[in-house]
């Protein structure tokens, strides 16, 4: 038998072969149906709001608020992490995952006080999403502005 410790490269290759992969098919399937379910719930709330006479923008805001509240509540009840472990991206990608990523550190770091703990650490997980989400929206906005100067009217 060859010695896997010959070089770092051979060892890395050997370790990759030896380490089991994540169950991608199962993970994708669970992410698909849980993510779909969350979005369907959002759609149901949206339709109810519209039928009650709210316009589409207000209805969308109400959907976000309700989903965020539910997800924050479930995080507090130690339920969301179980859903997240099961569904992965299915619960992470919708706004529920974003709410969870803010509430979880807020709970965890409460022991370090409200200012430096909750306040300082609340965005440790969501921070990168905010930074790159906002940055990319600015870049896209600039590109849009360059290519569509005619159609843009600045109020």
């Amino acid at each position: 038998m060859e010695n896997p410790l010959e070089t770092e490269k051979t060892y890395q290759k050997y370790v990759d072969e030896k380490s089991p992969d994540s169950p991608i098919l199962k993970n994708c399937f669970n992410a698909f149906w849980v993510g779909g379910l969350i979005c369907s719930i959002g759609q149901i709330i949206l339709n109810i709001c519209k039928s009650r006479g709210f316009d589409i923008a207000t209805s969308g805001t109400i959907v976000s608020i309700i989903l965020i509240a539910i997800s924050a509540f479930f995080t507090g009840l130690n339920i969301f992490n179980k859903i997240g472990k099961f569904a992965g991206a299915g619960s992470l990608v919708p706004i529920t995952g974003f709410a969870n990523s803010i509430v979880a550190p807020a709970m965890e770091y409460k022991s370090e006080g409200y200012i430096m703990g909750v306040g300082g650490k609340m965005f440790t997980v969501a921070g990168p999403v905010l930074v790159f989400g906002i940055s990319s929206s600015i870049i896209v906005g600039i590109i849009y502005l360059i290519f569509n100067t005619q159609s843009i009217t600045l109020v």
Partner: protein, 333 residues
């Protein structure tokens, strides 16, 4: 003391491990070794307000248990060696701050238990009559420091390991009737370039094999000499890798080798992926299970090799590879 070969130290008057104690958390209490631990906790907080305080309490109470079982009064303990995973080893130092025992804080990541025992054993050859050695780890405080907040809904890869909530403590004595620490082989750092902090077993396995083989070469012993060769926390994947590497170098350890991280959890029932890890893994499994096996003479010669990954979250984020270490002690009756 006498130096054998390259790295091994042989004791002229081998110190005795007088008594051991172990306390573990709720998940470990559902594992296959539950009945061997001195105390099984029902919740991770144990009446404290923070994970860090809880971990400190666990190691403090474990030390108390070990001291009271040994019958040595606390003021007769000449010095103590203890360490853990939290920044600057706060669990250990907070646990020992009221003890009035001279304290050396040690850090060897998950190899700390054997590192403490080794240093303690060396002390008994010179000034010390009784030495206290202890380590701990806590799943929640470790997750908080090294990974993500507990409530975050994320997935762990199959190679990830589960930090053991628990502590092990041992009281060493210059004189006694055994089990004796006859040899120690302090390990050197081995880094084979693994960068994945979710695959610690693979990062540490080369260090384990290095220390193991050095121990055999230095002492002239073979794997068959020992009833059991036990690694600290290589986990299921690390264990397989270790067997493979040792075999490729001409040593077959398959029949008498096992790993504390494999033994402490039931992989299929407890969803712990590649097995247990942390200072408390080797500490509690040795103190709880193997020490009792030695006492009852079911195991007569044990080679305990605790493995450690010498990295932190900053070095991981900066893309550094993970240096591994493994310290060995030979315990015989």
């Amino acid at each position: 003391m006498e130096k054998l070969g390259k790295q091994t130290i042989k004791f002229d008057t081998p110190p005795t491990i007088l008594e051991c104690a172990s306390i573990v958390g709720p998940k470990e209490s559902e594992g296959p070794l539950a009945k061997y631990f001195d105390q099984c906790l029902e919740d991770e907080f144990w009446g404290e307000k923070t994970w860090e305080k809880a971990e400190s309490k666990i190691i403090k109470e474990t030390i108390h248990a070990a001291i009271s079982k040994s019958g040595v009064p606390a003021e007769k303990i000449d010095c103590s060696f203890a360490g853990d995973l939290l920044n600057q080893c706060i669990s250990s130092s907070f646990a020992l701050r009221d003890s009035n025992v001279p304290f050396f804080g040690v850090f060897g990541a998950c190899s700390t238990f054997v590192e403490s025992l080794s240093l303690g054993a060396i002390c008994t050859e010179s000034f010390a009559k009784h030495v206290l050695c202890a380590t701990s780890s806590h799943f929640c405080s470790a997750e908080k420091q090294f990974r993500f907040p507990l409530e975050l809904g994320n997935q762990r890869p199959p190679t990830a390991q589960w930090t053991v909530t628990g502590s092990g403590a041992a009281v060493l004595s210059k004189s006694g009737t055994g089990p004796f620490i006859t040899h120690i082989t302090p390990g050197k750092i081995v880094d084979m370039g693994i960068k994945d902090a979710n695959n610690m077993g693979a990062a540490m396995a080369p260090a384990f094999v290095d220390t193991l083989l050095t121990h055999f070469k230095d002492t002239g012993r073979t794997p068959n000499y020992y009833d059991a060769i036990i690694s600290g926390d290589l986990g299921h994947i690390g264990k397989e890798i270790a067997i493979d590497i040792a075999k490729s170098q001409g040593y077959n350890i398959k029949s008498n080798y096992n790993d504390c991280g494999v033994l402490i959890f039931d992989k299929n029932k407890q969803d712990t992926h590649s097995g247990g890890s942390g200072c408390g893994c080797c500490g509690s499994v040795f103190s709880g299970y193997f020490f009792k096996q030695l006492k009852s003479k079911k195991i007569k010669r044990l080679l305990l090799i605790a493995t450690g990954a010498l990295m932190n979250s900053t070095s991981s984020q900066q893309g550094e590879s993970i240096p591994g270490i493994a310290h060995a002690i030979s315990i015989e009756i």
